[in-house]
Symmetry: C2
Subunit: 216 residues, 2 copies
DNA sequence: TGATAATTTGACCGGTTGGTAAACATTACA
DNA sequence: TGTAATGTTTACCAACCGGTCAAATTATCA
């Protein structure tokens, strides 16, 4: 047969799994750095250490590779938000959400940049994902936050913009890493910058969301 | 003569000014959407409404266009931070800095995305600008913030990470516009989202930076 | 107006792009 | 072991890429 590729016969070969893994790893490297249009199949093949036709045997087109990559990464990327627990203590939930997001920015910067590139370029490939699963998840957690505010456990605030601001402040350390390093300078740009960031952001959000005297 | 181009004879023609303006406008449109590598000269020429050789008459290379664009935009992009006034009232300075940055995200989203693309892709073209003028400016304003903290006018905090968090939260509404709209949904994604964001961010930063009981 | 400089264009170039065809090599498994 | 399915490679293609060139057109100004 000539066309088994990703269109499996039934179950994936060991070789298929290994190679697809290597390809997606290389694709992450390249797409996250140059975006979809700026990335080239040749470059991905080179990083993956295989010939271009070989790569195209597993993923028929550049777009198919990109789709597969996005789908896989998006899922794990949303895990921290899923863990956000309605039954937990608001302050510690928010604190640990910030911490988890910051850890992801530190440990998986390429994944963060992949999405950032996607958003910047209009997100035409994942708009459905955004309007569907992502929106639902955020709606759900926004309701939790709103309930906390209503119960007087945290200050009243727009839960959506709260989530946005946690996303943006934490992902900043992955997406704008070059700028962060340049501004901090050599002495402050070491690994400690994530600890400093965590300390600052926790202070900002915890104090910023503390309950105030309500206007009558 | 054959090569006056941007290498001016002495003063620029009216035609030169107009065309260079049109080209940079088109370049902003395309570069901000696709990044340097993803953008094509043909596409920029099409958006600018002129032939490719004509465009290359004004800017010899794609890189020259990009450089000219970055240089021009970077300068105005930093204006809000320059206005940050040491003599002013800390709370109102921070408040109005947030507001100005948010207005820029609303009114000049392409400029914001241009830089975001640049950062994501390693910023090799502007690394010097970052380590030089940008770092100096931030260092200067960080000193101001530190002084405010020491004087007990705002809470003690890392001034660099404070600036980063203002940058990221505000620029988020330009760079991740697609995501913001998708998550907010049709009813909340109208123009009012900037007002909502401003209200939330002011609350977050003003409360978050309010002076607390100092640990001894 | 005429001549000179500035601008615009169509045709073109070598290199790269995403992708294909088919021959060849390897693996799985009866 | 044999053989069919799976995996890999070499050679290649048309389209597109950034950029050049010389000829044609338009603006400038003495």
């Amino acid at each position: 047969m000539v066309l088994p590729r990703a269109a499996r016969t039934q179950r994936r070969t060991r070789i298929q799994e290994e190679k697809e893994e290597r390809i997606l790893e290389a694709a992450l490297e390249v797409f996250s750095l140059h975006g979809f249009r700026g990335a080239t199949v040749d470059q991905i093949a080179e990083v993956a250490g295989m010939s271009k036709p070989n790569l195209l045997y597993y993923f028929r087109t550049k777009e198919a590779m990109h789709r597969a990559l996005i789908t896989r990464v998006l899922d794990t990327w949303l895990d921290p938000l899923r863990e956000f627990d309605a039954a937990g203590n608001p302050v510690s939930e928010i604190r640990s959400y910030i911490r988890r997001k910051l850890e992801m920015a530190r440990d998986f910067p390429r994944e963060s940049r992949l999405f950032a590139n996607e958003m910047l370029q209009g997100a035409t490939n994942i708009e459905d994902e955004l309007k569907g699963p992502l929106k639902s998840l955020v709606d759900e957690k926004a309701a939790v936050i709103r309930a906390w505010a209503k119960a007087g456990k945290i200050a009243r605030c727009d839960p959506y913009h709260l989530i946005f601001s946690i996303w943006s402040t934490t992902q900043h350390y992955a997406d704008f890493d070059v700028q962060v390093r340049a501004v901090l300078g050599q002495e402050k740009a070491g690994d400690g910058r994530f600890e400093d960031a965590a300390r600052f952001l926790e202070q900002l959000f915890i104090n910023g969301l503390e309950v105030r005297d309500a206007a009558p």
